[in-house]
Point group: D2
Chain length 154, copies 4
């Protein structure tokens, strides 16, 4: 009843075979009156996955946003998503978001994501994000992020 968890921080997931895994509990807020998870909630889950993927590579949104160099990346904006909704999920389910960099080009970063419920696939998405500078203009990805790309797929 009062088991002490060994890890008291928020789950930030883990990397395995270049794929980031983030477990996510479904709460009231994620569901809708159909009794299942609201479709746009999965996009929030995917965004958490991408944020934790970036964190594993040493980037935090807060640090990026506080960057003083006006030509540096400040934000990532979603540019394109192709999403297949494969199955529904319910409150209390623990889903896993899988996120993998699949390439980059200039300001664009390509990421494959899928969400599973145990062994069952729930969603599959191809996502393109764009790095933006302080003027909201596309700018080159951070060097470290580009080089990680190369390592991951060489």
């Amino acid at each position: 009843m009062s088991k002490i968890s060994p890890d008291r921080s928020a789950t930030s997931g883990w990397i395995e075979h270049d794929i980031h895994h983030l477990p996510i509990r479904v709460y009231y807020e994620d569901t809708d009156f159909s009794g299942r998870v609201y479709h746009a909630s999965y996009l929030r889950f995917c965004e958490r996955g991408r944020s934790e993927l970036l964190r594993h590579y040493g980037y935090s949104h807060l640090d990026l946003a506080k960057e003083k160099n006006t030509s540096s990346v400040l934000f990532f904006a979603v540019h394109h998503m192709d999403i297949n909704f494969l199955a529904s999920a319910e409150i209390d389910n623990v889903l896993t978001v899988h996120s993998q960099f699949t390439g980059s080009s200039g300001a664009r970063l390509f990421i494959n994501q899928n969400i599973s419920n145990g062994d069952d696939p729930v969603l599959r998405a191809n996502v393109t994000v764009v790095s933006l500078d302080s003027n909201g203009r596309p700018c080159r990805l951070p060097t470290k992020l580009r080089s990680i790309q190369l390592n991951a797929f060489s």
Copy 2:
């Protein structure tokens, strides 16, 4: 300061050339710390557009969900979305969601949607929704909805 609006109901938009138009004000809740609209908020806006499009054809989610016939449509679930994010939008902007049926097939309904900010395109999406019965299984679309399809594109 105390102008009385002639129309005191919630805006449900209007149809013009088979395209439904729904004006949507951007509020605090729709934005994120980048200062712009959070990407998943646009999916909520699109869903409002589809709900009002259905309402214009005489369907309400509440009525559908209360249907006693177990083989009738109870819910619509999003099956596939392909989304291009074309520009950002800000708080206080009034966006317009344009929604148009483009076809149907069995349980599936195809809808084109785009969001504009004045004359500027903000988002373009192709959406497939599926009608589900009380067991969560795909079921044929309501007759009226299928026939409306035919009229719209004949």
Copy 3:
């Protein structure tokens, strides 16, 4: 089927007896798996009501945020809320948010809000918001807003 609405802008509500009225349609996004409106959705509705109340007095969040004077109001932050949830609401319902300034003190603005579903009360809230400057410090309310207070209750 293709009735043209006379008012093609987003509903911004109206003022009557010093009370702002904002009609709000309940969508999928606002509900949870209990089949009713998710409790925190009402706070989003209240915030829309406060934003439209401010707009009726000539203030937009976008203009305030772009203010260059560093001691001017940039944002409003919620400081305190006391909320009674009186009844549930369902998808497709059209609720009305009623918002009224009840006083001000320095950086603080007091607002009474309630939400009704037709004649039925759904929620009642007392809200205190604080005006913040560019350093996130409380700052005096805009003069115009304070004087409106006085007029409203003299």
Copy 4:
């Protein structure tokens, strides 16, 4: 770079001195254009805390909702909240939600909650939830939950 976390499930927090602790990472979705956490996001965080508190006592929303006995608890609805917003929080922060049962009465359950950012208090809330049966009517709390109350404060 590819550290394997020992705990691969979603964080469900832990109990210490009758207080449940749930760590929560702030993501894009939780923020608004002021650059800070959107006020209603904290209510979602509190709800996650209450759900995990109930889970520690053996209750899941999914199990409760599937209960066939029509006079049994199906849902918990928030009845009253008194909320003080004490400080702002930012993206990437790891907050902790503290939740404690403080009593019960018939269908009502009283819970104290606060949210901290490291050592800094962010929010303090008193919450009353009500247990509802399949007809949406208040019903007695589950026996086990009432007895836990007594143990906790004897």
